[in-house]
């Protein structure tokens, strides 16, 4: 008896928990999620996965951890606070050469699995896979594996930041148009309609030349162009919800417009936005690679999958080993985000869940 009362008292399963339960059931979705986490992990851990400096070492009797220091640079502005110890902070310091020569008794080095810097050139140009370079080298003798790892970092960063920008713009304009209606709605709806008339890539290429090519420029431009879907969805949702009883109740209690929108209305329509975000990241990764290929995106020598593709196409006759790594990486990245997006769409849709 007491048990059944406790059973009834227990809080019912929340929306996110039940969505996650449904998500977990999909094998493909979980594979996608695993690959996504793997790619994000690769991007974040790039400095200790591919680096010509050791993760940790004892050099001339002192303990250094240049790899770990670089890892902390993932945190914004940490670069200015946490610095490498001497001599690892010196430009042009070749650790492996010096270590061979000046090693003392008891010195050791824990090197990353790919012991090359992504920008470190060598005379082994366009070399296919060897034991030294796992998947070969590029046109100026840089290790391809190291460049692929750093490319993952670029792709993940571009995906998240650009979709973050576009989602914020879409939410903002969608809320304005949907909640306030009237002339604001007319103007924003027209703007959406106008932007939708342009092929996305045309628009991106036109705007991307405003500023010198760089990874930040690419992120901002993709974000500025791809917000229409979110804006349209949010507008529709808010029009549907703004006259609901609970919105009316909140307003009657004296809540401000911002509070009604952000506390009461948006949380009820947020789930499908996560689906849009996931698909958006997949698209942004593909767009970034093509922009870098065309020379509008990430600039060499910085590594990006698009830059590697470009060089692979230039050297297609002589160095076919360069083709497959970026192709496979882009395919996996796009596929895994699509898988997560599709599974998420079914998981957050209560109508699908009931059937």
């Amino acid at each position: 008896m007491e048990d059944s009362i406790n059973e009834m008292k227990r809080k019912s399963e929340g929306f996110w928990r039940s969505s996650w339960r449904r998500f977990r059931k999909s094998k493909l979705g979980m594979i996608g999620l695993f690959l996504v986490l793997l790619l994000i992990g690769t991007g974040l851990l790039a400095p200790v996965l591919a680096n010509d400096q050791p993760i940790m070492c004892r050099f001339k009797g002192e303990i250094h951890a240049p790899g770990l220091v670089e890892l902390t640079w993932n945190i914004p502005f940490a670069k200015h606070v946490i610095k490498k110890s001497f001599p690892f902070d010196q430009a042009g310091f070749r650790f492996r050469k010096r270590f061979e020569r000046e090693k003392e008794e008891g010195d050791w080095a824990w090197l990353p699995p790919v012991p090359y810097h992504p920008n470190g050139t060598s005379t082994n140009v366009l070399q296919p896979a060897t034991t030294e370079h796992f998947i070969g080298t590029d046109e100026v003798g840089r290790d391809l594996a190291a460049r692929m790892i750093y490319g993952a970092r670029v792709s993940m960063l571009v995906g998240f930041v650009s979709v973050g920008i576009s989602t914020i713009i879409g939410l903002f304009l969608g809320c304005l148009a949907g909640y306030f209606g009237g002339i604001v709605d007319v103007l924003i709806s027209r703007l959406i309609e106008i932007v939708l008339c342009f092929p996305v890539f045309f628009l991106i290429v036109s705007i991307v030349v405003w500023r010198p090519p760089s990874i930040w420029n690419v992120m901002i431009v993709i974000g500025l162009v791809r917000w229409t879907g979110t804006a349209r969805y949010v507008r529709g949702e808010l029009i549907r919800l703004r006259d609901s009883e609970y919105a009316l109740a909140a307003r009657a209690l004296g809540a401000s417009s911002a509070r009604v929108i952000f506390r009461h209305l948006l949380p009820n329509s947020l789930a499908p936005i996560f689906v849009t975000v996931t698909f958006g990241i997949a698209a942004a990764i593909a767009v970034e690679a093509s922009l870098s290929w065309l020379g509008f995106g990430v600039q060499p020598p910085q590594a990006s999958w698009g830059n590697i593709l470009k060089q692979a196409y230039v050297n297609i006759q002589t160095a076919p080993h360069m083709i497959f790594p970026p192709c496979i990486a882009i395919f996996i990245a796009v596929l895994s985000y699509n898988l997560v997006g599709d599974t998420l769409r079914d998981a957050v849709d209560p109508r699908v869940a009931k059937s």
Binding site: I194, C197, P199, F201, S206, W210, W293, I316, L335
Partner: protein
């Protein structure tokens, strides 16, 4: 119906106006003086200076932005696209020359994609969760996640370089003019093949999923049960009663396809050295050829706008349940 048409056409005016403003702002805000860029190629400094001044004057680059906008709009209304800033040829001619290469590739790939995807979609939906549905579903899902340029790179490597079966650069062979008409045709087709496949496979995946999804919805309708109860053959039920009813949502797709027919893919045309509209756009952007970029963007946007309108109107004709009032 007539009233609806008038209302829609009137609504087009502010949108068209907005399109021109967006195009003009985006293009003129881009840094870099187009006159200086073109004049920089000329070695003689005095000559270079003169040409730069001449160009600045001819394209009104020294006038304030609103004056230039009004002038440009005035010419646009009379369908005068002006001349290209990079080589002084009329923009209309340049677009007309680039139109056929882009259109032929896109039309061929859309046609092939339909030809293949409709049967795939029908078979997959008819035996839902059968082996064909599952295999085709997985394969198409995979294809859908391969960006066209990635597929292009792999196809160029295998078909073009490794097995040396097909050419992958330009539209014709170098000695094209010496060929017989038949050989000319085959030469063109072989130059197009890889490109067409690259454009096609993404569309193929998209269309098949679309056909399957819509057919699955139609299959649950009452009239399908009625058709079966009448004792019709299953193939007749699926194709005549089922598939024909999916053609209405298909209209939406046609609205999406028309613009893609002329919007050349920038990256694919760049890869294949294809002399089409995408490449024209890419070159114009790089040379800061403002009139060219504006003409291409406006033309594409207007085309998109009108094809959406036509599709909306067609709904009324195709589906009597939709009424335009």
């Amino acid at each position: 119906m007539f009233e609806y048409l008038v209302r829609r056409l009137l609504l087009l005016i502010p949108t068209l106006f907005g399109i021109t403003i967006v195009v003009f702002t985006i293009v003129t805000l881009a840094p870099g003086d187009p006159a200086a860029m073109r004049a920089s190629d000329i070695m003689d400094p005095e000559m270079s200076q003169r040409i730069q001044e001449d160009l600045t004057k001819r394209f009104d680059l020294d006038k304030p932005i609103h004056v230039r906008y009004v002038k440009w709009l005035g010419r646009l209304v009379t369908l005068d696209l002006g001349t290209s800033m990079s080589d002084d040829n009329p923009i209309f001619d340049k677009i007309a020359n680039a139109f056929w290469p882009t259109f032929s590739v896109n039309a061929a790939s859309v046609f092939l994609a339909f030809l293949i995807s409709v049967p795939i979609g029908i078979f997959a939906a008819a035996r839902r969760n059968g082996w064909f549905d599952r295999t085709s579903g997985v394969l198409l899902y995979g294809l859908y996640s391969v960006p066209s340029y990635v597929g292009a790179l792999l196809l160029v490597y295998w078909l073009g370089v490794k097995w040396d079966l097909l050419p992958f650069s330009g539209m014709y062979s170098d000695d094209y003019h010496t060929f017989s008409p038949m050989a000319k045709f085959f030469d063109q087709v072989s130059h197009m093949t890889i490109y067409v496949v690259c454009v096609m496979y993404g569309a193929l995946a998209f269309y098949s999923r679309f056909v399957r999804q819509n057919l699955l919805e139609v299959i649950q309708q009452d009239y399908m049960r009625t058709a079966r109860a009448k004792g019709l053959k299953e193939s007749v039920v699926i194709v005549k009663h089922g598939f024909r009813n999916t053609l209405i949502p298909f209209l939406t797709m046609i609205g999406l396809i028309v613009p893609s027919l002329i919007g050349g893919s920038v990256i694919l045309e760049y890869m294949f050295s294809w002399p089409g509209l995408g490449r024209l756009f890419f070159n114009a952007i790089q040379q800061r050829d403002h009139p060219m970029v504006m003409a291409l963007s406006t033309a594409t946007a207007v085309l998109v706008l009108f094809s959406t309108l036509i599709v909306d109107l067609l709904y009324g004709f195709v589906d009597p349940r939709v009424s335009h009032r």
